[in-house]
Amino acid sequence: MNALDITGLRKTYKGGVEALKGLDLSVRDGDFFALLGPNGAGKSTTIGIISSLVNPTAGQVSVFGYDLHTQKESAKACIGLVPQEFNFNQFETVLQIVLNQAGYYGVPRSTAKERAHKYLEQLDLWEKRHARARELSGGMKRRLMIARALMHEPRLLILDEPTAGVDIEIRRSMWTFLKEINEQGITIILTTHYLEEAESLCRNIAIIDKGNIVKNTTMRALLSTLSTETFILDLAETGNQPTLEGFVYRMTGDHTLEVDVEKQEGLNPVFRQLSEQGFQVLSMRNKSNRLEELFVRLVESGRQQQGTARA
């Protein structure tokens, strides 16, 4: 059974803006799924409809087989939502917020207290349990929203840009936590602008643009479509310029070399040639995130196709 099945989902807002144009999407049970797209692509509208915050114009959504329209309460009970914007009562304490959320899902107070301890501890918020939400830092607020979403132990967790504005250390710890709960069986749908995050966490991916899915595949299959990668190499001073036979390359600084490497070629010939010419490589890095490159390419090609279809 799929965790999520969306068929022909449409949403036209009052002003006439068509946010979703018949979107189809399935997410398997246990998956860690990335939903990516540029701003205004329809990600938040899709998540809003799944979580009952936006009324769809047409289409069907089912969560673990429960129809969101006809079996609303059963479907809702399966979902935990971590929204993009902070949406808790700023005047309530951390503990009140998570306990209330559990109560809305019918979790008895004694069980809710045990879970609050568990999740606040895991997300490093237990010490702050009596602090009012407005007193928390941005990273703590993000973690509070994750703890709140887990209080009824949902089968499907939807995270809408959960690490926006969070420093790298906390982001990494959140990734570890999310990987752990996914391994425990919770299906996760993630939207993010940090493509490195999607690449590191997700097994499957859909790219959405202008209300349509332009790509829906596995992360591995998507990344394998990349044929060329660009590497930046910092070289030690020799007073000479390197030459690389069989490669497209350029010097972008006195000691900085950029090389385009075909996937099947590998990096060994580059290092061999540089070594033969007496160059020492001090450091090396990717020019751009691989997924970012693909993302831009897919969105652009999707737009071109739509433009051609209209013409």
């Binding site: 809702k76 808790f88 109560g103 899902y105």
Partner: protein, 257 residues
Amino acid sequence: MHKQNNWVALNTIWIKECTRFLRIWVQTLVPPAITMSLYFVIFGNLIGDRIGRMGGFTYMEFIVPGLIMMSVITNSYSNVSSSFFSAKFQRNVEELLVAPVPTSVIIAGYVGGGVARSILIGIIVTMVSLFFVEVQIHNPLVIVTVVLLTSILFSTAGLINAVFAKSFDDISVVPTFVLTPLTYLGGVFYSLSLLPEFWQIVSKANPVVYMVNGFRYGFLGVSDVGITTSLSLLVGFNILLFGIAYYLLKTGKGIRS
């Protein structure tokens, strides 16, 4: 959702609402006590002695039920309108919309909070009135029924106001321009029999008249309107407003895109 779950959800919303108004008790519980004390001093003690008897009672005895009712009406309305609008404004209403809480439970939880605050204030105002007059009780069942139905009615009305409100100004418009005139002209300070016949008929179009008089009947045993009419209208208005509130929340008016 299981019935037991609904009960837990209702209890959670109700306790949250009560915690909210108790946390800010200086803003929610103290002002009505002070305002009503001033009414008792000015209208009851200072001016009341010169007005003489009304409906067979001293003026102070006459206005006590009306003043209690006035605080119940204004506080039940403002509690729910400000609380629900704040939840909309801070977007924490989304916590409820995402959860499998039935619409009727959301309404009952918020209205329950408004009722709790207004009843508590009603008790406080009654205690204050004991410093000025010996309160009589003619029919306790009528008192409890009328005060409960009235606080439920105005709590529901406050909820409807909050659903439509787009700014904090919008939740003060109705209390200022509708509720206050209806309450002041609803027979709190006078008996309708003092008015010319035409204005008596006009006054009977004011629903607050039936609440104030029904409540006064419970205390003093006198009323300008029939107690059955009062109770019937209260029940009717409650059904009507609950239906409107249910429809608005169910369809997501003002809270869902």
